[in-house]
């Protein structure tokens, strides 16, 4: 049985003012990968390249252990996608979407779609343009799930949702992943969602993958040291990842907090959140 449901290898795409640089990562089967990075870091470009929405990239994408370019149609039957700002024309209704998708996916399940509509309190016969942003997003998610996909590729699926709706959506994703054959690639900058559900975190910055690790490994091993200037000056450059100088103290991101604690005798090393990681990796200095 295949180990990875998605393998991205050396994805490179050049624009005039931006470059995706040799992006590589693997998403194991049965896992949720959080794909994080600031706006403009390359998350959407990577997802669009994986899905072939952007052409002319170099590199290889394998999904379900099949080469994406040569098995595109059969792979797409098994993928559910939510993209930022791309969806059905807004004069259509959920009923129309049901009719349309029945003619697009072999496995489209109208009953499942209707159940999601009920669960999400979405109207069947109202035009999409009359729905709130949150309802719109929930309709996109219901559409992505209703053909029994094995891989969900989600670009900012919780943006625009209030905390209650976000929690509903996260629950749906957790239900989806109960099936060991299914996986989710989840791009977001709302990292608290990922702290709840992600198994892996892949962090992209300026078109480059900075790290790709299990969430537990990341949150367990990395830490933040808060110290004064004289303490900071004693720390060797090779023992920290990045630091940020605040008004009264230094925040130092360390990769292995246990070893660091042993070596430098710091009493307290704070736990790191994914937000801390993003801020320090992007804004911090070396």
């Amino acid at each position: 049985m295949m180990k990875n449901i998605l393998e991205v290898n050396g994805l490179t795409k050049k624009y005039d003012n931006f470059e995706l640089k040799n992006v590589s990562f693997n998403l194991p089967r049965g896992m949720i990968m959080g794909f994080i990075g600031e706006n403009g870091a390359g998350k959407t470009t990577t997802i669009k390249s994986i899905l072939d929405i952007i052409k002319d990239y170099s590199g290889k994408v394998k999904i379900f252990n099949l080469d994406y370019r040569s098995h595109e149609a059969e792979i797409k039957e098994e993928i559910g996608v939510v993209l930022d700002d791309m969806f059905f024309p807004e004069i259509l209704t959920a009923q129309d979407i049901d009719n349309v998708m029945r003619g697009i996916y072999k496995n489209w399940d109208s009953n499942l779609f209707n159940n999601y509509l009920k669960d999400f309190d979405l109207p069947r016969n109202k035009q999409i343009k009359t729905l709130s942003k949150g309802m719109h997003k929930k309709l996109e998610i219901a559409t992505a799930l209703a053909h029994h996909p094995k891989l969900l590729i989600l670009d900012e699926p919780t943006s625009g949702l209030d905390p209650v709706a976000r929690s509903e959506v996260i629950d749906i994703f957790q239900d989806f992943i109960q099936n060991d054959d299914c996986s989710i690639l989840f791009s977001t900058h709302i990292t608290t969602d990922l702290e709840q559900i992600a198994d892996y975190i892949t962090f992209i910055n300026d078109g480059e993958i900075v790290l790709s690790k299990t969430k537990d490994e990341l949150l367990d091993e990395y830490g933040i040291v808060k110290c004064h200037e004289e303490e900071f000056n004693k720390i060797s450059k090779k023992d920290y990842v990045k630091y940020k100088k605040n008004k009264c103290e230094y925040e130092v991101l360390v990769e292995n907090k246990r070893e660091f604690k042993k070596k430098y005798k710091f009493e307290v090393i704070d736990k790191m959140t994914l937000d801390d990681l993003m801020v320090l990796m992007i804004k911090g200095e070396k």
């Binding site: 797409k76 059905f88 024309p89 004069i91 003619g103």
Partner: protein
């Protein structure tokens, strides 16, 4: 592919009330002799299909389509099939209404004249749409309008200049034998133009970045 056709038809259906009201107004005007319905309904058909492109573009549907199995290919194919369906529907409505108008206004029905007109109408509508679609696929609906204007302008100017320097009467004479076979000529031309236009649109769509 059937899903994509359903999508275009659903979009057209959502404007059904407006279209029905316009048709009744134009029917009334045609009965009063102020308008010829045989031209206005095909024009509406073109506008309706163009509006589906506008909705697609506005909601980034074309990028979303790429995530579906054979999405790029099927969406283009479906657009042409939906267009042909619309042309057939509009032609049937126009022909029936023309019969009614002819009978009400003259107490007779000029079958030959109306059927000839219907045939020309199908060809004319198809010609406009097969010309416009590859341009819209290439440039999008907004820039496409400008491109269509420039291309039509270029064709008219170059045609005018060509006729100044080259005697086209020989070519026209050579083609005059087609007059006797105009029905089959129009059918063959329609098929060739539609297929050619579809292939160009598809080639554009298959290479497009969103």
């Amino acid at each position: 592919m059937i899903g994509f056709i359903r999508k275009d038809l659903a979009m057209i259906k959502s404007n059904f009330k407006l279209l029905a009201i316009l048709t009744i107004v134009y029917l009334g005007m045609s009965l009063a002799g102020q308008m010829d319905i045989s031209f206005i309904l095909p024009f509406m058909c073109v506008m309706i299909m163009i509006s589906t492109f506008s909705y697609d573009e506005f909601n980034n549907w074309n990028a979303y389509v790429v995530t579906f199995p054979n999405g790029r290919k099927n969406s283009v194919k479906a657009k042409y099939i939906a267009t042909l369906l619309m042309i057939v529907i509009v032609t049937i409505i126009t022909t029936i209404l023309s019969f009614i108008i002819s009978y009400v206004r003259t107490s007779t029905i000029d079958y030959i004249n109306i059927l000839e007109m219907t045939f020309g109408l199908i060809f004319g509508t198809l010609l406009v749409q097969t010309f416009m679609y590859p341009i819209i696929y290439k440039f999008g609906i907004e820039k496409g309008r400008i491109a269509i204007f420039i291309i039509v302008f270029g064709i008219v100017i170059s045609g005018g200049l060509l006729s100044q320097f080259i005697d086209l009467s020989g070519v026209l004479n050579a083609l005059s034998f087609l007059e006797n076979y105009w029905v089959i000529t129009i059918i063959i031309l329609s098929v060739l133009l539609t297929y050619g236009s579809y292939r160009i649109s598809l080639a554009i769509e298959m290479k497009k970045n969103f």
